[in-house]
């Protein structure tokens, strides 16, 4: 049901997700690569040779060397005949060039017709839905199951084996795959809000199909067509091999002809086979390149996890010690310093809130602690200690054991955090069996105890269920129970309540608070919502563009904020205590992109108090160890903008 998927939410493209989080906007330069351009060059060469076949200075492909004496039978490749001679002394080069035209004509006509007809059917089925969709889909399924080869043999015996007959048959059998992929793409597009927006504006159906849907289908269809083109050429070759070829010189026919002599004169079959192979490869590579254009991926430029810098020991005995942590992501757009000099300590039973907007690096801090990243090229520098274990430099088994036994993770979306195909019991007992050394029975008892602990009613029944049978709040309770399985000292919660309703949110926050007190667990609560940290954390760190810009006791941050960003963030939140229609004081602009950060304070471009120094010099952390900040104008009330009062 549409409204359900809408509620579940934030459908975004892969690019939107990672790129958006890193603040990478604008064009992501998609490099098509050398292979793509070499393929284009090869295809262009074929087209050129095919078009100008008659005027090229080559021998007549039908001239037989046994009569003209110019080329000998099975002559090897050389200066006289570059690709050697055929069974009757034909110039193989000429014949291969003669084979270009039928290959390209067949490929082009078949692909164009099949793509057009198939796309039209696919759009019709995907957009109209209902009965039209059912009928079209059934027709596609039948057509896909139809034995094309049998059809070809039957038709061929009646209508002969002209290029036309092949074109018609290839087209008919080529339509269903296009119809199928276009239908799928249309169904996905029609779910997007921009189609609803166009409908709301009174756009006609025709307009929606041609102006809204079609432009988004062109690239996927082209990409598929390039591969379809290759399939057509390959099919012709295969048929020729079976002796079902067109009545012209084709590559397939040349290969079939040469296979008899493959031992004595391999070049007769191998050279046309190579040409055909290269052509098919070229079309496939072009198709892949076009597909990458439609769904660009943020790919790491370096594929390794690196660690730099020195380990700095903690003073005292914090359970979590993070000192001068720098995390750099190596993306195609450049090196992104997602976490830039983050320092904090957390004692047993203490709760730290990390607050920031998208791209501030708050989630990346958690990822840096556990060493899990969304892309492969990451360098970490600085210190992360969990219960005294150096998470950056310790041997891998020790790090894994520490992750399994000392750290619990709770993520934003409980539905994706749980495996949809496995029962709750398996998911909750597995870490206890792997890391805790319990047997199945002990693990099950412990699971029941944990589920009662996190407030799940009827835990025996829930253990046998699958994630989709649980409500959002119950699922999040299950992920918390899993996180608690091995009695961790540190619980890392990344936006644990953002996907939940407000009444459920307060239950989950209360639960986290209780667990922390009862089990004296340290808690890191990452959120975009300032209100969430109030009342549920002891200290708050405010992050902006990779920096912790302010850090201190929660109540003090709320009552006496120092950094201009913190102050502005608090002012801009709609306040329940203010009367309705109160003018909100805004922070102009949006958070900066982490690529090519300007010098100076990262908030300077949006700060009403920024002066020359703020734009030139990055403020170092100042204040007290209890309450620190990076700001040249700490605590100064920004002037109220004029002319906007109501």
């Amino acid at each position: 049901m549409a409204s359900v998927s809408r509620r579940l939410g934030t459908r975004r493209s892969a690019r939107g997700r990672l790129g958006g989080r890193l603040g990478l906007r604008g064009r992501i330069g998609v490099r098509l690569g050398v292979a793509f351009w070499l393929s284009i060059l090869w295809i262009a060469l074929l087209v050129f040779l095919g078009v100008f076949e008659e005027v090229l200075p080559i021998r007549d492909p039908d001239a037989k060397g046994i009569r003209t004496g110019e080329v000998e039978r099975f002559e090897g490749p050389g200066w006289n005949a570059w690709f050697g001679g055929g069974p009757q002394g034909e110039d193989q080069l000429s014949r291969i060039i003669a084979g270009i035209r039928p290959a390209l004509t067949l490929g082009l006509v078949v692909t164009a017709l099949a793509a057009l007809i198939g796309s039209a059917l696919g759009v019709l089925a995907g957009y109209a839905r209902g009965r039209i969709d059912a009928v079209t889909t059934a027709a596609i399924d039948v057509a896909l199951a139809f034995p094309a080869l049998v059809l070809l043999i039957a038709v061929r015996s009646t209508f002969g084996n002209s290029l036309l007959v092949f074109t018609v048959i290839f087209t008919i059998t080529g339509i269903p795959p296009y119809a199928r992929i276009v239908r799928g793409a249309t169904l996905a597009l029609a779910e997007r809000d921009f189609v609803d927006a166009a409908r709301s504006m009174g756009a006609s159906r025709r307009r929606i199909v041609f102006r809204e849907l079609a432009p988004n289908l062109v690239l996927p269809v082209l990409s598929f067509a390039a591969i379809g083109f290759a399939i057509v050429i390959l099919s012709e070759g295969a048929l020729a091999f079976l002796g079902l070829s067109i009545d012209q010189t084709t590559w397939g026919a040349l290969i079939a002809e040469g296979t008899g002599e493959i031992r004595s004169h391999p070049h007769v079959a191998l050279i046309p086979a190579t040409v055909m192979f290269l052509t098919i490869l070229a079309f496939n590579l072009v198709g892949d390149g076009l597909r990458d254009l439609t769904a660009p991926r943020v790919v790491a430029t370096v594929r390794r996890l690196e660690v730099e810098g020195e380990h700095i020991d903690a003073t005292g005995e914090p359970v979590l010690h993070v000192h001068d942590l720098h995390t750099t992501l190596h993306t195609p757009l450049g090196h992104v310093e997602a976490v830039d000099g983050v320092t904090f300590d957390l004692s047993a039973g203490e709760a730290l809130g990390i607050v920031g907007e998208s791209g501030s690096g708050k989630t990346m801090v958690l990822r840096s602690i556990v060493g899990a990243f969304p892309l492969a090229g990451v360098t970490r520098a600085g210190t992360v200690d969990v219960c005294g274990v150096d998470m950056l430099r310790a041997p891998r088994p020790l790090v894994q054991h520490t992750l399994g036994t000392r750290i619990g993770m709770v993520s934003q979306n409980p539905l994706t955090a749980l495996n949809p195909t496995r029962r709750i019991e398996v998911q909750i007992t597995e870490p206890m069996i792997v890391h805790g050394g319990l047997n199945r029975r002990q693990a099950r008892d412990r699971a029941l105890e944990l589920m009662r602990h996190v407030g799940i009613p009827a835990p025996e029944r829930r253990l046998r269920e699958y994630p989709h049978q649980l409500s959002g709040g119950m699922r999040q309770r299950v992920t918390i129970a899993i996180a608690l399985a091995n009695g961790p000292q540190v619980l890392l919660a990344d936006e644990p309540t953002t996907a939940l309703d407000v009444t459920v949110q307060s239950q989950i926050l209360e639960l986290l608070g209780t667990l922390r007190r009862e089990d004296s667990m340290a808690l890191v609560l990452v959120t975009h919502d300032l209100a969430v940290v109030r009342g549920f954390t002891d200290r708050v760190a405010i992050m902006y563009a990779g920096h912790i810009v302010e850090q201190g006791p929660t109540e003090e941050i709320f009552s006496n904020p120092q950094h201009q960003y913190t102050m502005a963030l608090m002012r801009s939140m709609p306040d329940l205590d203010l009367p309705s229609h109160s003018r909100l004081r805004v922070i102009e602009g949006s958070p900066p992109s982490l690529v090519d950060l300007p010098p100076g304070c990262r908030f300077a471009s949006r700060c009403p108090l920024a002066d020359d120094r703020c734009h030139a010099e990055d403020p170092e952390p100042t204040g007290t160890p209890r309450h620190g900040y990076r700001c040249f104008h700490p605590g100064v009330e920004a002037p109220v903008e004029v002319g906007h009062g109501r």
Binding site: D193, S200, T503, G535
Partner: protein, 324 residues
């Protein structure tokens, strides 16, 4: 909870919704009761905030107004003209005076089109209502929503979420609508950007004389923008009042639970855990009588058998509960 009833309808409203019912086919022949007999109205220049949790039917209500989902029963009248059941050309024309802003601004923009074409779309469909001055009007609107500079050639992915929402608002304004339906317009935005868009909405409302239906799960946001607030639960209306009254003296048990759940609130309410228990019932099989009774601390026998109807408890304050 609550209930049906039309006690809060007024005579001078431009948009009237009466007993709106939206049902979807569910699995194995069952029926999803998304909206079950909701009535409300909008006066000219008024903003009605619709608030509730997921599954309360607030989004479906907005989409049903736009006729983006089929209405099972009930009436939606704009200036006395019936919108439900309209199809084809009639519907195309009726939709012009209402426009919708969606939650995900990125998904609301066609990724393969340029900003200029996206914003001009309304003019291309309908021609310029002012006759010939289309481009200057588009330029005015772009400035009004804060999209300055030479950006017409760019495509949606080159803009941030906040800018995309401004583009969506500009596109809707070009249609010169009377009513703007906003479905969670700031939920996908960063905190610092939310305030920009909320202020912008207040500005354009005044400048273009708009009437708004503002749908959100965020009680603080709804309070800020609304002239009247309607609280929904499981397809029914619980309570309707002006925001200052509603937040000061919530009367419906669900409204009280909702407000008490806001982290860090300073309202005079007991803890949320004392006001609400259990889980949201399935919309496939909603409870008899009051739909909130399964989670309500005050529920009694009458709540099981009888559905409470909205009634006035004070001037311009309506509650659907047997126990207030």
């Amino acid at each position: 909870m609550a209930g049906s009833g039309r006690a809060m309808l007024r005579d001078d409203a431009i948009l009237q919704v009466r007993d709106l019912v939206v049902e979807f086919p569910g699995p194995r022949g069952s029926v999803v009761h998304a909206v079950s007999g909701v009535s409300f109205d909008l006066r000219e220049g008024e903003t009605l905030g619709v608030v509730g949790e997921s599954g309360c039917g607030k989004t479906t209500t907005g989409r049903a107004l736009m006729q983006l989902v089929p209405v099972t029963r009930g009436e939606v009248e704009l200036h006395g003209e019936e919108l439900t059941g309209a199809t084809g050309e009639t519907l195309r024309h009726l939709r012009r005076s209402m426009q919708m802003i969606f939650q995900d601004p990125v998904s609301s923009l066609n990724p393969s089109r340029r900003l200029r074409d996206i914003v001009r779309e309304g003019l291309e469909i309908w021609g310029d209502p002012a006759g010939g001055f289309g481009d200057s009007r588009v330029a005015d609107i772009m400035v009004a929503v804060g999209l300055g500079g030479d950006i017409g050639d760019r495509r949606p992915h080159e803009f941030s979420g906040g800018q995309c929402q401004r583009i969506c608002i500009a596109r809707a304004l070009v249609m010169d609508p009377e009513v703007l339906i906003l479905d969670e317009p700031v939920s996908a935005l960063d905190v610092s950007v939310q305030a920009q868009i909320l202020n912008l909405l207040e500005d354009i409302k005044a400048r273009f004389g708009l009437t708004m239906l503002f749908i959100s799960h965020d009680l603080a946001v709804v309070k800020n923008v609304s002239d009247r607030v309607m609280v929904m639960y499981l397809g029914k209306v619980c309570e309707v009042a002006s925001p200052d009254v509603l937040y000061e003296e919530p009367r419906h048990p669900y409204t009280r639970a909702l407000l008490a759940s806001i982290p860090g609130h300073r309202l005079n309410l007991p803890p949320a855990s004392e006001l609400i228990s259990g889980e949201l019932p399935s919309p496939l099989d909603p409870p008899s009588g009051c739909r909130f009774r399964t989670r309500c601390p005050r529920a009694t026998e009458v709540c099981v058998t009888e559905e409470p109807v909205l009634r006035a408890v004070a001037e311009d304050h309506f509650v659907a509960c047997h126990h207030t």
